[in-house]
């Protein structure tokens, strides 16, 4: 048949490009971007969920080591992304389903919650769920290395960008660890922090807050997420620390947020940890993202709470 010689020659021609492509794909790592590595690890038995606060603030290696001291041995994956990607909702829930090891037992599941992750956006008078058409909704393969689906369909830069660091990164360096923790290195001098804080404040005050609407659909999705995870281990709802200015806005958005979480925790019979008091006592890179050192401290507190809850204690801890 004439087709076979054609295919042989085509294969010969494509040998070099495919080899080069594979070589590049295998080079992708934690410096490729802030999401990639999370889709390259095996299905997870313990998870950290939430938005960018959790992605940057909760450090799985700290969590695992503190829990190990309490005799709980887990391997946690930080599967938190960003507000535009992973507020609680069907999109995130579907992705969590794909990432969760169905055989997981005695895992730990830290669900970072805040008013933003339980709100939808009002766009031209309509309530919209921003994440419904993003890549998290479209990705089928979240446990593959290298993750060809992500690199070829989601990765927003030319593939050669994997080999060459982005020159525009300047003073902001992002490093995604294999456990999913996103380490952000930015100048922490007072002027730089103040600048980022002002920018974030303006963004939230002027753009996000006026258009944010508390969403029953998101609350329902949070309940479904808890229901999904409970059979696989301990679930803890955590409200991470934020600056007082951010807390003020969150109180405007959902004044009874703590009560809501309390109700959810009781209804679902899971633990909760509120760390939002004395927010300004912590160090942030901006308005609400914990700085590395304080992220580790907060993670340790979360781990201790999980350790406590394993011995049957259930309650609210403040900072």
């Amino acid at each position: 048949m004439k087709t076979l010689p054609f295919l042989r020659r085509l294969a010969l021609f494509l040998l070099i490009p495919i080899a080069a492509l594979l070589a590049i794909l295998f080079r992708a790592d934690g410096s490729t971007d802030e999401y990639y590595l999370r889709f390259t690890t095996p299905p997870a038995t313990s998870l950290v969920l939430g938005t960018s606060r959790a992605a940057q603030g909760i450090q799985p290696h700290v969590l695992d080591s503190v829990l190990a001291e309490a005799g709980i041995h887990v391997k946690t994956m930080n599967y938190a992304f960003a507000m535009g990607l992973s507020p609680y909702g069907p999109t995130y829930l579907n992705s969590i389903r794909k990432k969760l090891d169905p055989a997981a037992k005695d895992g730990v599941f830290v669900l970072a919650v805040d008013p933003w992750s339980l709100s939808a956006t009002r766009v031209r008078g309509r309530i919209e769920f921003d994440e419904s058409s993003n890549f998290l909704a479209k990705m089928d393969l979240v446990n593959m290395h290298p993750n060809i689906e992500y690199l070829l369909t989601v990765y927003p830069k030319p593939l050669l960008g994997i080999l060459v660091p982005d020159p525009r990164a300047n003073d902001k360096r992002l490093l995604l660890h294999e456990d999913g923790w996103l380490e952000v290195s930015v100048p922490m001098d007072p002027a730089s922090v103040a600048h980022r804080r002002t920018e974030k404040l303006a963004e939230y005050r002027n753009e996000r807050l006026p258009n944010a609407v508390p969403s029953n659909a998101r609350i329902g999705a949070l309940l479904m997420t808890i229901d999904l995870l409970k059979p696989h281990g301990r679930v803890l709802l955590v409200r991470l620390p934020v600056s007082d200015a951010m807390l003020e806005m969150e109180n405007e958005l959902m004044p009874h947020f703590n009560r809501l979480i309390d109700l959810i925790a009781r209804h679902e019979q899971v633990d909760q940890l509120d760390l939002s008091a004395n927010g300004d006592a912590w160090t942030y890179t901006d308005l609400h993202h914990l700085y590395t050192a304080d992220g580790a401290r907060v993670t340790a507190m979360i781990a201790r709470k999980l350790g406590e809850s394993s011995s049957g204690d259930r309650g609210v801890v403040g900072h």
Binding site: K2, T3, F13, P158, L159
Partner: protein, 477 residues
Amino acid sequence: MLFNSLDFAIFLPLVFLGYWFVFRRRRSQNVFLLVASYVFYGWWDPRFLGLIVLSSLVDYIVGLRLHATGSARIRRGLLWTSIIVNLGILGTFKYFNFFAGNLEGLFSLFGRPLALTHLDIVLPVGISFYTFQTMSYTIDVYRRQLEPAKDIVEFFAYVSFFPQLVAGPIERAINLLPQFQRDRSFDRAKAVDGLRQILWGLFKKVVIADNAATLADPIFDHYELHGGSTLLFAAVLFSFQIYCDFSGYSDIALGTARLFGFDLMQNFAFPYFSRDIAEFWRRWHISLSTWFRDYLYIPLGGSRGGLALSIRNTLIVFLVSGFWHGANWTFVAWGALHALFFLPLLISGRNRRHVATPVGNSGLPSARELVGMLFTFGCVVIAWVFFRSANVEEAIDLLVRMCSPSLFSVPDQFSKQYITLLIFFLVVEWSGRHGSYGLQHIGARWRSWARWTLYYGVLFLIFRFTGMGHEFIYFQF
């Protein structure tokens, strides 16, 4: 499914292998192509498959009935059934809200506010293309220029043939349907040529069009912040973006079809080398231009009724052609502007001066040809501003700002890298202007290693810029 996507990169080899190795008989190949085409289309939204099935079914039945009856009245009725169903689908999904909005505007102008229902629906991908394709079939059968398809699979496969389903070329049944009705054998030379055309199409899309979009979009989005020369630069960029986006898609479509033994019609013939607007329209989106010529211009009387009628018909065709692109006055203005450029040539009887490909003695265009090309390109660029803008006011404002003294300053946005790529692209296109696509004959007589080096170079550039992630513009039409 996008041609420049991972999904398609998996889909195409699977369909190719199934087509040539598993389903070797014509009928089973047709069934397989039909299923593959529906999978290809349903990848976006399977709900809209119902529209293609409906459109295909109506035209299949109408075609058979047209053939069976001799009654002129019944035949007219059948023809109108097909037209009403197809244009009804198109009108509902594409134009309903436009007409409702304009009617509301008109009533409020006279102090009588009107609140009409607006449909909250998504425009099905490629709807303008396949409805025109099925309509042309029925009209041809009505005119007795074509025997109707007896085999429902052949007809459905013709309507939904995946390489050209969502953005053309708008194939005539007279060309494509017979290809489904005869046995096809693998032709190595044709397949190699198809792959080369796919490669060139991807280059146009990924390297030229997507890069142009990355540079032009921010300028268009905040055009009020830029000077005349930068706005001109953005308009030129958009001109290359839309050409390479659309003709790149056509190249991939034609190349893909060739892998399966099909020949689709050439949709673009190096339109930016045209020496006047009339020539441009013989080279741009040929399948649509000839569709309007055969099914609108000629039925309206064409040029048979004297100059006045010819002008009227030309004007109608350009306006309808603009409106076909989208439910927005900007597209109508785009069509009107082209009519304005075209009519002086028609009136002076100079609209068929440039029919042959520009040659040039030394491989380069003559000075006269070059001036003609630059002038034509300038007209086309001005018209594209309307096509790209959100509304007519914005387009006019942008053109006014462009024609300010800052037109003669250095653009504040410029990319040497892009200009280099553009020059490479234009050199290849000019060198290959006698073929069907730029890369077709380049390197044909070279040794294999030299030719492969060229292809690897093109592939490298595609690879280098993959990931810019722009959809094909013409999908929205």
